[in-house]
Symmetry: C2
Subunit: 209 residues, 2 copies
DNA sequence: GCGTCCGCTTGATCTGCATCAACGCGGCCT
DNA sequence: AGGCCGCGTTGATGCAGATCAAGCGGACGC
């Protein structure tokens, strides 16, 4: 039903997809690539507040602007829908409204999980949690075949912005896990998780799910 | 329209209102008092992920359980609605569904704002931001008359859990702001904000709204 | 082919906050 | 009245992670 109003758009790595305060003329879903949601303080410190993979949604029904930047972490392909047309559709499709609420609540849960990471976890736990999350998400993607090979969609610096560390600490913790034979690097952006159990233990989330 | 299915419930300070994983039999709104949403790691470290004031809502339509604890930070009075009856009402009242989505998005924005605080702010900035938020929220409450008097609804330890510090650091930072004549304490839980401008400057959020 | 830039690693040092510890104050129980 | 307990303050010390700094390798432009 969305067919009639969709258009595609591609954005090169590093480009800003939406800027804080921009009028939100369309909503979109990520088709390929990875995008980040980032909030910056006036002195430049920035914290990533969300990470979008293929099938994730950008834009909030009923809101005319967003208060964070959306940035392409890799080349990104988007499927865009005109916001007004999309909202009309919500009015006539109650099921869609439910689905949107569902998605907002999922994002809220993810944000709260991340608050625990940011507020309470050690550097090692943060890295382990991040890698473990990538492992889970990438297993769902058909594009990537099984095995435990993980591709980092972010630079060390972007990872640092996501988990509330500096890029040096990210680099050191990854090196540690390599030395401990938890990870085996094929190159800077690609590694295999050799010891998944040790990785899970290192996340700090035990006795749960 | 909710009249028919509401009941009241009061909970004493320190009591758990809902435990992680509990079946969610009712939804509720806070009538009086303050409640906290907390997530704990298995070793006891805990991070507060939300703070509920009067008029705030507990419970998520469509979800059968929550993955955090809800705890009464002061004595709390709740207005409870049977979950199933409430959900039936959503089905028949489209306006209500919209309102719930709106609330979920507000919570999401708040969570993301807090991620910046947890990931990037210094202890002083965290305290200043917390106090500033209390000042804003309490000004909206009719119960509290104007002036810049703030009542802390939380112990030092609970504040620490909220902003990702230890109770000692919270205490020290409050003492500093007292010494700097930004705050004047009437007692441990009650103070006046003498220098609102300095407080704002200390939050680290400048050049924004 | 050579310089340069970007992303990354690794080492040395610094520092903000955690941790450990002692004590003060007020409320409540007996 | 006396003792205890919960909450808060303040001081001394320790340490995880930030900051500062140097160097490496691959991609790219000229």
């Amino acid at each position: 039903m969305l067919e009639g109003i969709k258009t595609y758009r591609t954005v090169a790595v590093g480009q800003t997809i939406l800027r804080r305060g921009d009028p939100l003329n369309y909503v979109a879903s990520v088709v390929a690539g990875v995008a980040t949601l980032e909030k910056s303080m006036s002195d430049g410190r920035t914290q990533m507040v969300g990470l979008l993979f293929p099938s994730d949604f950008i834009g909030r029904p009923g809101r005319r602007e967003i208060d964070f930047d959306v940035i392409a972490a890799t080349d990104v392909t988007l499927c865009c829908f005109d916001r007004v047309a999309f909202e009309r559709l919500i009015g006539t499709t109650p099921h869609l409204a439910e689905r949107l609420l569902e998605m907002a609540l999922d994002e809220l849960d993810a944000a709260r999980e991340w608050m625990v990471l940011l507020g309470r976890k050690t550097a090692r736990e943060k890295i382990a949690t991040f890698v473990h999350m990538l492992l889970r998400r990438q297993r769902l993607e058909p594009a990537v075949e099984a095995g435990s090979v993980v591709v980092l969609p972010l630079t060390r610096e972007a990872i640092a912005r996501y988990i509330g560390l500096t890029l040096e600490t990210v680099s050191r913790q990854l090196s540690m896990m390599k030395k401990e034979d938890i990870l085996r690097f094929e190159d800077n952006r690609r590694f295999e998780v050799i010891d998944v159990a040790a990785l899970r233990r290192a996340t700090g989330d035990m006795g749960e799910n």
